[in-house]
Symmetry: C2
Subunit: 307 residues, 2 copies
Amino acid sequence: MSLIVLGTMAYDAIETPFGKTEKIVGGSATYVAYAASNFIKPVQQISIVGNDFDPTIIDDLNRRGVMTDGVERVPDKPSFFWSGRYHMDMNTRDTLVTDLNVLADFNPQVPDSYQGAEFLMLGNLMPKLQQQVIEQLKTRPKLIVLDTMNFWMEIAMDDLKQVLTMVDVLLVNDSEARQLSGEYSLVKAAKKVMEMGPKFLIIKKGEHGALLFHGNHVFFAPALPLEDVFDPTGAGDTFAGGFMGHLAKTGDISFNNMKTAIIVGSAMASFCVEKFGPERLQEITKKEIDERIQQFVNLVQFDIDLV
Amino acid sequence: MSLIVLGTMAYDAIETPFGKTEKIVGGSATYVAYAASNFIKPVQQISIVGNDFDPTIIDDLNRRGVMTDGVERVPDKPSFFWSGRYHMDMNTRDTLVTDLNVLADFNPQVPDSYQGAEFLMLGNLMPKLQQQVIEQLKTRPKLIVLDTMNFWMEIAMDDLKQVLTMVDVLLVNDSEARQLSGEYSLVKAAKKVMEMGPKFLIIKKGEHGALLFHGNHVFFAPALPLEDVFDPTGAGDTFAGGFMGHLAKTGDISFNNMKTAIIVGSAMASFCVEKFGPERLQEITKKEIDERIQQFVNLVQFDIDLV
């Protein structure tokens, strides 16, 4: 099984109540690849970087089984750059700087070597570019997952609705689910969103966990209560990477296996927030991942005898 | 096993985005009793009501196995009255009216017939009154659970800290846990609170579920995703009633059984919010409770094979 990942590879500068960074590597596809490559090889990256992008990151990803044939390198422009500041609750943030740079000209191309992939992860990007990648695939993947955000709902809702008809799973946060559906209740919002195309909806709620909806079924995954959330940047993409990695590894796209995949994604995301940027993801071991998943099992398991 | 419940029996007038009520029966001890009496008899109520309190409510509670020997009836004053308005998110509310009425003179007395109870639920009230009830008991109950709120942290923190040294379990919401401990991280907050006396801490997070802390252990219980949350009044007390009811029924106060008790409490709370006031609690059947608890099992269960 192989997994194609579309998304940004970029630089971020982050301020949190616990500290701040200079420019560090980031981008949705970077986080997805670091997380997913623990479970599945190859991860086939489609992205664009500028002349400032550290080649040792590409080398590191390649060593982890991430193919970068689909990563365009632009010689005369810098990489996409985002800077933001988180507040104490870590669920809200202010964007300080958004420099599109190379992203302004991004025209994603699927390399021939990627054709035939069974899994496609469309990271948060302009909906037209997400659609363009789907349309370049000669065989429709077994599972297409799309991540998006409020920004595209505000400036490209029609394009977003178009690409939603082409995907299987949508990943958004709670306020985005409300915005997309016009419903406050997440249960009602989920029903409306699933009428727009995706048969599965995952609503990410940060420290409050995540919900998976499918037909009349719902699954609730907790977030691990942590002493410190150091930097939430990339946590959603890391979640997506763990989720896709588990599905691609097992090849099983049933609702039941998606529940497990969400726990794997939540476990990966819980590592991501422990340090700035993808640093923690670069150092974790298989043993740590197993232990963390076991913590999630312990966190929610209970015995019940009906009264 | 028997359960003593201290708290208010009162009237509320409620506005939500879905409607509003005239004066309807409410009060922490009312909700606890309606919930707990599904699991354990007798529930031994300690409260105070005025000349306006509907005697058919007392009759209804008596029929359910709730003793009201400890409920004082004041002939020349009305019952405690609270009026509030909920916002769309149902987690925040404005208090419109608080008329203490009989509550201003409340001097709770434990009837002889209640002595020897194994379980004590101290509903949200002035901390000195909660302490007074503990001190009147000739035998210390097997488990003492205390509910409180931010109001007492602001005007009676020393009294609250005193009574905290005397109880086993504290029930608060997330912002109250932060206020009591001075810590933003709920994991750090829990550690500090458990140094103040209670060996167990339950943090209620409304639609985001609840956390149970004990030593280095933590358990996460989901809330049931609902199409409509009609009226959250009493949901926390109903949760407490289901929690205590299950513990008193089983007589088992281990961490493991508390996890199950929290699921039972969450299931009961999910009924409470479906209609205004305690109306839904007055009509539910044992079969509905069993089905609801099964929904919680389905909501969180997953299969995992470590990678």
